[in-house]
């Protein structure tokens, strides 16, 4: 019982994920600043922002549903924290079962739907626009994302992440067999996290803040936390599915390898953020269905044939 609580609250859930989430935000902002010839924030900035948000006044426009508005970020946070329990960190996961990949993908979609609902229930016009766009974006990237993530499962003949990780130890890093799937998974992750260049639902110049325009104070703090942890869990997922090599005998080497892979992926995400311009929603829909879906289908076909 205490073991379960430890796993849930300290490591690899709860506290550990919050720390890594804040660390990810700092790393991302610092890398972006370096790309833009700026200095960037000091290491404690994300923590300071979080504390500041929790100490601010918490308002909602008249007519907004206070209970639902508070529950939505909390539900998102819980969903991603639970998802974090099943993703192996440096090869270690307390719970793992056949099919946990599907569960995690479902849990990772909860924040997206919560974001859409948050936009609808805050009465402001920008929130509604942002919420609608987020759902439209969801339909454009989710299908290629799911197909791309099924590739490693097919190759490893297992639907548990731990099983996929073990299979890479014998077969080699899956990124070598399906580099296209890797890229597609990264693009899907950028869309899920609503980062530049796919931050269409919260494009500042068009819809001010998207769904979260009217949120403030503690609720916004929970949203930020949930989004950071969602990013971290997503990156861990991709590391385990494509890069692997972290289920090693020596735990220190495993941690080091895991950390390096984490840095590589964060670097790729930040570069994409810095380099590309924001797409329009119709351009994203076109990109998603006309280019990404056929590519992902081609990749999975290749993987299936290879497995045979």
């Amino acid at each position: 019982m205490f073991e379960a609580l430890f796993y849930l609250l300290i490591f690899p859930g709860g506290f550990f994920l919050v720390l890594v989430g804040l660390g990810f935000e700092w790393l991302d902002r610092k890398l972006l600043a370096l790309f833009q010839r700026r200095v960037g924030p000091p290491w404690y900035q994300p923590l300071a922002d979080l504390i500041k948000l929790f100490s601010k006044e918490d308002l909602l426009p008249k007519g907004g549903n206070e209970l639902v508005a508070t529950l939505l970020p909390l539900i998102s946070l819980c969903a991603v924290l639970v998802a974090g329990l099943y993703v192996p960190i440096a090869g270690f996961t307390p719970y793992s079962f056949e099919g946990d990949l599907i569960v995690i993908l479902f849990l990772m979609s909860v924040p997206t739907l919560a974001y859409y609902l948050a936009g609808i229930i805050s009465i402001g016009i920008y929130s509604i626009l942002g919420g609608g766009r987020s759902l439209l974006q969801y339909f454009s990237y989710e299908v290629p994302f799911l197909i791309a993530l099924s590739g490693p499962a097919v190759l490893a003949r297992s639907w548990s992440i731990e099983g996929i990780l073990t299979a890479q130890f014998t077969l080699g890093s899956f990124v070598l067999f399906q580099p296209l799937g890797f890229i597609l998974a990264l693009v899907g992750l950028i869309g899920k996290l609503k980062r530049d260049p796919l931050d269409i639902p919260s494009a500042k110049s068009e819809v001010v803040g998207g769904s979260l325009t009217e949120f403030s104070g503690g609720k916004l703090g929970f949203w930020h936390l949930a989004m950071n942890i969602q990013a971290v869990v997503g990156i861990f997922l991709i590391i385990n599915l494509f890069l692997g090599w972290t289920k090693l005998a020596n735990p220190f080497v495993a941690i080091l390898v895991f950390f390096l892979e984490f840095l590589v992926i964060v670097g790729m995400l930040s570069s994409a953020s810095a380099i590309f311009a924001r797409l329009r929603i119709d351009q994203l829909a076109g990109l998603g269905w006309r280019i990404l879906v056929p590519l992902s289908l081609a990749q999975i076909l290749f993987v299936i044939l290879m497995g045979v």
Partner: protein, 360 residues
């Protein structure tokens, strides 16, 4: 989908200055919009009637922060025309130098804003970093980055000597290399082209009907530039080319302004090379004889128009300013029909708003 009306402004991340727009949209399609100005109306024309000419120079400088120098230059030229005062050539060249530097910094500012609205934050950071080079030069020679206080009736209030030149040339060189890199990106970056090409094209006929001049007109192929068509010295002795593009969409406006930065850099170097010697100002009498005059000049945003009437005293009897942004704002509701919501920032940025100019 039903029609809803979203307000943009007076405070909105899109706008540098307060402006109120109501845009009707249906889904992601924009149907039209209407404007309301006046949030920064300070009544400068009315205030000018109660101040003497020297005070009016300082008043007019504060019409706009970004293009402050061209306002004072045009006003001083108007007064000097009424006084029949011949400004020394060195002062004319120095005024033109500041005008071109201002054009560079204004266009770089604008490029950053456009990039930010399209989502290219990196270009925004880089262009504003480069803008500091131009602002540093302006500060070095006049002491002010945004409001310079450089002009007086009869000439300018600053002078260049040998010690200024190395720093100015170094900054211009650095700017030149940065601009060619920037132009390369603007012409080839696929995401930027996808967001701006074909967006809100404006025909030449519409441009003429709405009385728009400046980069927006030149992007539609209208070949008009007050520096060449209505030249006041020293522009009649300087060689430069006027950039036009045929399409008239947002991308054409981007390219026109970016190329103009290059032309302005050339002009700056030409001015520095040909700088004549002599004094920088002439003493002007306090009372201006009766008369009226119209001066048109090329502000960074288009055609700037000044009408000045004096009645023999030391206070202007009527000062009328028409800034280029006012005409461009008239064009905005026309451009707003038949675009998407995501194109609104691109269209607004293409107009290069300076609402303080429009409101006066």
């Amino acid at each position: 989908m039903s029609k809803i009306s979203i307000p943009i402004g007076p405070q909105h991340p899109l706008l540098k200055e307060p402006l109120s727009m109501k845009i009707d949209i249906s889904g992601e399609k924009v149907l039209g919009g209407s404007l309301r100005l006046g949030y920064v109306h300070r009544g400068i024309e009315r205030l000018a009637q109660k101040r003497n000419y020297v005070q009016t120079i300082h008043l007019v400088e504060r019409v706009c922060g970004i293009c402050s120098h061209i306002h004072t230059t045009t006003f001083c030229q108007a007064v000097e025309s009424l006084l029949k005062l011949e400004v020394p050539p060195r002062a004319q060249y120095l005024r033109a130098l500041m005008c071109e530097l201002e054009r560079i910094h204004s266009h770089l500012l604008w490029l950053g804003i456009l990039a930010k609205h399209v989502g290219l934050d990196t270009i925004f950071m880089h262009t504003w970093h480069d803008r500091e080079l131009a602002l540093d030069v302006m500060e070095e020679i006049t002491g002010g980055r945004v409001l310079h206080g450089a002009n007086q009736i009869g000439g300018v209030r600053f002078d260049l000597d040998e010690s200024h030149f190395p720093m100015i040339y170094a900054n211009l060189e650095k700017l030149r290399s940065q601009i060619s890199g920037l132009l390369d990106i603007l012409e080839n970056e696929p995401a930027l082209i996808a967001r701006t090409k074909g967006v809100a094209p404006v025909s030449q006929k519409t441009i003429r009907q709405y009385g728009v001049a400046g980069p927006v007109a030149r992007a539609s192929g209208v070949d008009v530039d007050m520096r060449r068509d209505n030249p006041l010295p020293p522009y009649d002795q300087l060689k430069f080319s006027v950039v036009t593009m045929p399409d008239g969409d947002a991308w054409a406006r981007t390219i026109v302004r970016a190329e103009e930065i290059r032309e302005s850099l050339n002009l700056c170097e030409m001015i520095l090379e040909d700088l004549p010697d002599g004094e920088v100002s002439k003493r002007a009498p306090r009372n201006v004889p009766e008369g009226e005059v119209i001066i048109r000049s090329e502000a960074p945003r288009g055609e700037l128009f000044y009408y000045l009437r004096s009645d023999g005293t030391d206070q202007p009897a009527r000062l009328k300013i028409r800034t280029p942004t006012l005409a461009a704002l008239c064009l905005l509701p026309v451009q707003m029909s038949d675009i998407q919501v995501a194109d609104i920032p691109v269209v607004l940025a293409g107009v290069d708003l300076c609402v303080a100019c429009a409101d006066r």
